[in-house]
């Protein structure tokens, strides 16, 4: 653990110059916890039906040691917290959507689960196997699709891509050919099986990535922004395929995405990551109940009536005037419509229609992230 001590000391020196001392203090606290000599941790008791479990996983990226700087200029000067105390579990048949802004820690979480990163503190398990100590075994159980399609062998055909992957998976040759055809058919690439990767459309490449992840019937699917580069129709079809695969294979899936309307369409749990912390874990309906203040859109017969009503409602407690747009007034309120009219005492005239509006998910999440709760909230 000398490395952590050294990094911590260097980081401590750097605190004076850092732009965000609080973040560096967080990083150093995690590094100190990792460096502290602890008795060997017993294996935590995991939910028996959870295929993916992370137990208070933190990851701090530290600056490269001096000898490595001779070879490669370090991209970071101070320790950076990528994940902090991240605890999740995903059961068979579940799809967990991981959402958050760039740099939130989504990719780090996926790299910990695929064994490409080791947690600084905490432990991660896939099918009960520790991703740090049983990385090789874990890699047999996961199907991974990275965010971009450069990992495909673009000079090879779809079939050759899958055969190569199947060979590395140790699949028997006879079984492999059959399974490759099945998988290509499943993702709709059967007719393009002998087309080279470079000749595929972006949507087809995304399907090929999914086919590669599904080929060996993994217990856990880890899909990093699988729909990021495809059009909405292709994205919808891809998500339907993922849902179907998860249901048929009884696997668990983790999906990161920036397309929040797609996440909403999955009707599954989400984890909202921000700055390495889990801000929310649960279903989107609960998230709305906690964070989404109901909004009313009131349409008036005339603009002047709308302006007058805005002034009246602005005086009321528990009512926020969000927007005045011509003859339409939008208010956010936690009290009922009846109470509003009763408190207005007849001053709201000329109302043509009233309807409840839901905040678009992206605005809701942006609101949560901007408000940055002091403590992580959990459902």
């Amino acid at each position: 653990m000398a490395r952590f001590k050294q990094s911590g000391t260097r980081a401590a020196r750097g605190v004076k110059r850092a732009h965000d001392p609080e973040k560096i203090a967080r990083a150093n606290a995690i590094l100190r916890a990792a460096a502290a000599k602890k008795p060997k941790q017993p294996a935590p008791t995991l939910p028996s039906d959870a295929l993916v479990v992370t137990d208070r996983v933190s990851k701090v990226y530290v600056p490269s040691p001096p000898w490595m700087k001779v070879l490669l200029r370090s991209s970071i000067r101070f320790p950076v917290v990528a994940l902090e105390d991240c605890s999740i579990d995903v059961k068979a048949g579940e799809i967990l959507a991981v959402v958050g802004p760039n740099g939130a820690g989504k990719s780090t979480l996926f790299r910990v689960l695929t064994g490409l990163n080791t947690p600084t503190t905490g432990r991660a398990f896939v099918c009960g196997l520790d991703t740090t100590t049983k990385s090789h075994e874990v890699r047999r159980l996961i199907g991974f699709a990275p965010a971009d399609d450069s990992s495909l062998l673009l000079r090879n055909t779809c079939r050759e891509n899958l055969v190569f992957h199947g060979q590395l998976q140790g699949m028997p040759r006879k079984h492999l050919q059959k399974r490759v055809s099945e998988t290509l058919d499943f993702v709709g690439l059967g007719p393009a099986a002998d087309r080279v990767g470079i000749a595929l459309s972006t949507g087809m490449k995304a399907r090929l990535q999914l086919a590669r992840a599904l080929l060996h019937r993994p217990r856990v699917l880890i899909l990093d922004e699988p729909t990021s580069s495809v059009d909405p129709i292709a994205a919808y079809e891809l998500l339907e395929l993922i849902k179907q695969a998860v249901t048929e294979q009884g696997s668990a899936a983790l999906i990161s995405s920036h397309r929040l309307e797609e996440i909403e369409a999955l009707h599954n749990d989400v984890v909202l990551l921000d700055d390495g912390l889990i801000r929310y874990r649960g279903d989107l309906d609960s998230l709305r109940r906690i964070w989404d203040q109901p909004r009313m859109e009131i349409r008036f017969h005339a603009d002047a009536e709308c302006q007058r009503a805005a002034k009246v409602l602005d005086q009321m407690h528990d009512v926020d005037v969000v927007e005045v747009d011509g003859d339409v007034l939008t208010v956010a309120t936690s009290i009922g419509l009846g109470k509003i009219f009763s408190q207005a005492n007849g001053q709201l005239s000329g109302v043509q229609s009233i309807q409840e509006v839901r905040l678009p998910l992206r605005e809701l999440l942006a609101k949560i992230l901007i408000e940055r709760a002091e403590q992580p909230i959990q459902s």
Binding site: S48, K59, V62, M68, L71, G115, N117, D130, F144, N156
Partner: protein, 285 residues
Amino acid sequence: MATSTHSHLRTRRRENPISRLIAANNAFMVLGWRQAISYPLGFVMTQLSNFVPIFVFYFVATQVNNPSQGFGSDYFTSVVIGLLGIKILDTGLRGFGLQMDMAINRGWLEMFLVEPVRWRYLPIAMSQWPIAQGLFAVLTTIGITIWLGADFQTSGIPLALLIGALGLVSGLAIGTLSAAVKVLAKSGDPILHLYTLAAQIFSGVYFPISDLPEPLRLLSYALPQTYVIQGLRRVLAPGDFATGLSTPTLIWTLVIFSALAYPLAIWVWGRSLNYGRQLGVLSGY
């Protein structure tokens, strides 16, 4: 192992490491071939470039045929043997590194590392195609140079094969050590670059190492290239080789170097990847 029970794990097939290694070897061999033939002209030009030095030194030899002690009686044959030795070692030295470069540049390496192939198998599996290419170049070089008049001693072929194999393993060891640095540094190959420069000067490809000043000659004996080239000349080239190390000494030195260096290199490669996991640099190539 965590305390939860997962019945599906018990039902999975037992892994046979040999068949897994063979499967991985085959996969990378086929991948290498497909990549090579994806750029046919580039592939042909690369193959042709192997033979340019042969013709250069054929004509040099006609001007310089002045036998030197420890260099055999035929300059052309001795230089060709030197070039063969360098080619064999280069195949080992650069084979895995070049495959790594390709994997890094095309964005494949992260995917290879996520595949369930033991990381210590990768230097072996990814070297298969470069080794096959290198052997093809060696065999065709021998054929062409015999046609041009090189005078190889056929009785020395079995020992030459042994020395060549040991040279290949030595090259693979140094190449794997270099790749262990490259996987953390992500690009560039400073160690191998320096090593190749040194080897060209000190291993006696173009002139006998007896011509080097005494302190530099010591440096020559630190390089496996020197033993491979000397050994190949002793068993294949015509002429008197009374000076220098004996053939058994050269072979045993290579045996010991290969037996120690290759397992060490594979171990260092594994440690390097584990260190990369801690630093979090095994992605974003």
